[in-house]
């Protein structure tokens, strides 16, 4: 599998993900359940994350980005592959062995309405992790929680309130405080701002950036909004149907995307500027994301790809070709330049061997 090689090797990695697969079985029968097929939610994903870095993961719904996040924090067990955190293989660790590591990596969830227990007070929700890890006495926990409330911009006196007394943005701040409570190194953010209004979204994004500066945090930031990912990430990884399509630094990915899928995603984003937005011709992908039960052969993007070449793309799976500066893309016919008009995109001229920089 060409997707198997780690995309970078720098030596200061906090997290290394190698060839991770997650297949969900589809079973038939009630008593004698037999597996008839599997949903290939994540299919051979490798990347690494350095300390203090923010890696953005983008893709459409159903591309496996949330499953990947859950595999990394071990909320789900992987089917295959290896996850190394701080130099230690955590893929198969038992629950007790995993516990101390859970202090090092925490998660912020998408829906601030569903991820806070409505029957618990805010103080308990934030302090629970401290109690589980036995970090301090009751009064120390309380002081720490009030400190955290202040850090995320809430009133420490709201310690005894219930989640329903807060607005969506404030709840997400509680979620951030909870993730921060145990002083983690890595925070996995699964669509932390997609349920929020723009003005509140900006508040949370600014908060996340400030916290990163103050506490030296590393983020794995999952989102479907390319504007948000561009704003917060150092590097961006584009996923489609369980596989990596392109990885590059933020500047390069948004300036010179190589994969037609990245190009289509970029051109589909509405621009909040009527003169600019209406002047361009968006590359509209036809159809929907195929089922991950039966992914297309060869390059799994080929049925929707404007540059599809018969007999090549549907037969041979493209490896992640390097384009210099840690920029890789899995495409046989990468984009020559950007931006590109829709009809120009349809004319694939060079194969990557020719397109590669000398």
């Amino acid at each position: 599998m060409s997707n198997a090689q780690p995309t970078t090797a720098r030596g200061d990695e906090l997290l290394i993900v190698e060839n991770v697969r997650k297949y969900f079985p589809i079973t038939r029968g009630i008593i004698f359940q037999k597996q008839v097929a599997s949903v290939k939610a994540v299919d051979g994903v490798s990347f690494s994350l350095s300390s203090g870095e923010t890696l953005g993961i983008v893709g459409e719904s159903g591309c496996g980005k949330s499953t990947l996040a859950r595999c990394i924090v071990r909320l789900l067990d992987t089917t295959d592959g290896r996850i190394t955190f701080e130099g230690r293989d955590i893929t198969k660790l038992s629950r007790p062995a995993m516990r101390p590591i859970r202090r090092e990596m925490t998660m912020i969830f998408q829906d601030p309405y569903a991820s806070l227990n409505p029957r618990k007070r805010v103080g308990f929700i934030i302090g629970e992790a401290l109690e589980v890890h036995k970090l301090g006495t009751a009064s120390e926990v309380k002081t720490r929680v009030q400190e955290l409330l202040e850090v995320v911009g809430l009133n420490p006196e709201h310690y005894n309130r219930f989640p329903h007394e807060f607005s969506g943005g404030q709840r997400q701040r509680i979620g951030v405080a909870r993730a921060l409570a145990v002083n983690p190194k890595l925070i996995v953010c699964d669509e932390p701002v997609s349920a929020l209004d723009v003005s509140v979204q900006a508040q949370i994004l600014n908060l996340l950036k400030d916290l990163q500066d103050d506490f030296g945090l590393t983020y794995l930031f999952i989102a479907h909004d390319l504007n948000v990912v561009r704003h917060i990430s150092d590097r961006v990884l584009v996923m489609y149907l369980g596989k990596i399509k392109e990885v590059a630094s933020r500047e390069i990915l948004y300036r010179e995307p190589k994969h037609p899928y990245t190009g289509a995603l970029l051109s589909a984003v509405p621009i909040a500027n009527p003169e600019l937005g209406r002047a361009r011709e968006p590359i509209v992908l036809e159809g929907d994301v195929p089922s991950p039960v039966n992914p297309p052969s060869g390059c799994n993007f080929h049925p929707r790809c404007p540059r599809f070449v018969e007999g090549h793309c549907d037969v041979e799976e493209p490896p992640l070709y390097p384009f210099g500066n840690d920029h890789v893309a899995a495409c046989h016919y990468p984009l020559e330049r950007w931006p590109m008009a829709a009809d120009e995109m349809r004319r694939a001229s060079k194969s990557p061997e020719q397109a590669l920089p000398a």
Partner: protein, 340 residues
């Protein structure tokens, strides 16, 4: 005469905690073939405005005032029977969530046929061929084979297409789209927006599009209404709104948007939360969050007045014109920095 003329529309809901004024004096008009966008954050009253026009609020606890003239006839005082004739026929609506707005126990064909036969005296067969025609028009592949499928057999984007087909099946003069792409992925959103644009060209309907996404508004609307806490704070042609925004709330919205075209280290955020409509702030409702707040803002409600540079551009803010011009230019410079 305008197709739809809304004057001083007011809607309040009686709740256990008191009266919530969800829409407080909104006026606008839509001409044939025009696309009007309403932008604002959740709870600003943009959806309630549409529901009131369509007569879809629960009667029990709602008090409505003002006028909504549809081709000269007031919809707020119209009988349920008249409203039924208009809804889904001359005026139709696409709802936000395609997952919950189709009936799960009927095939989409049956639901489409029902929409036709409710307003046209035609046979089921004719209605069905009309349904098929629309499903093809909105780009559902193999429409013949899929017309008898149930909603759960379609993906989100496809369901939204079915909703659009249903809304357009009787050639409405006005299509109200309430956050039509919010639940969808960007690529599907681009497909749906393209489709709406194309269908508007083909059918010549007017569109009222409600969204919180400034990008969607910039790409689709001709004119835009910005709402905040149940009131209109700014109203302008789309190009003018984006090049010379006049209201601090609009500046805040534009500044808080992370953009593909430009790099900003820090987003300008609007501090605080949108106010509760049970007890809205005195004076200008934006004053507790406004960085330019003056003492007059706390006591006097600003009127929606024409801007100095263009009488068509109206805004409700006490700030002087020089400050507005200066701030708008500053904002534009910041967001356009890299595009030049």
């Amino acid at each position: 005469m305008a197709l739809l003329e809304v004057q001083d529309l007011r809607t309040s809901f009686q709740t256990e905690d008191g009266i919530v004024k969800a829409v407080d004096g909104v006026s606008f008009s839509i001409e044939k073939g025009q696309t009007l966008g309403i932008v604002g954050e959740s709870g600003c009253g943009k959806s309630v405005t549409c529901l009131t026009i369509m007569g879809l609020n629960a009667k029990r606890n709602t008090i409505s005032g003002g006028q909504a003239l549809w081709k000269g006839r007031d919809l707020l005082t119209a009988s349920p029977r008249v409203l039924r004739d208009i809804r889904g026929n001359e005026m139709s609506m696409i709802f936000q969530d395609p997952m919950t707005s189709l009936n799960p126990v009927h095939s989409i064909g049956k639901q489409l046929v029902e929409a036709v036969r409710l307003h046209r005296d035609v046979s089921t067969r004719v209605a069905r061929s009309r349904a098929l025609e629309l499903l093809k028009a909105v780009g559902i592949p193999r429409a013949e084979g899929r017309i008898d499928d149930y909603p759960h057999q379609f993906s989100g984007g496809m369901r939204q297409r079915v909703m659009i087909a249903m809304a357009l099946i009787n050639d409405p003069d006005l299509l109200i789209a309430d956050e039509p792409t919010t639940a969808l992925d960007v690529t599907t959103q681009a497909q749906i927006l393209n489709l709406m644009k194309r269908l508007q060209e083909d059918f010549g309907s007017a569109i009222l599009i409600i969204t919180h996404d400034l990008g969607v508004v910039a790409e689709t609307a001709d004119d835009v209404l910005v709402m905040y806490a149940a009131k209109v704070v700014e109203e302008a042609n789309v190009n003018d709104l984006f090049s010379r925004p006049q209201h601090p709330y609009t500046w805040g919205l534009m500044g808080s948007l992370p953009r593909l075209e430009t790099d900003v280290e820090r987003l300008t955020q609007i501090p605080g939360q949108p106010p509760s409509l049970l007890r809205p702030p005195s004076g200008c409702r934006f004053h507790p969050r406004c960085p330019y707040v003056m003492s007059v803002c706390k006591t006097t409600v600003p009127e929606l007045l024409p801007a100095r540079h263009d009488p068509e551009h109206r805004q409700a803010c006490h700030l002087d014109d020089e400050t507005k011009e200066r701030e708008a230019a500053k904002l534009l410079e910041a967001t356009m920095a890299e595009t030049a």
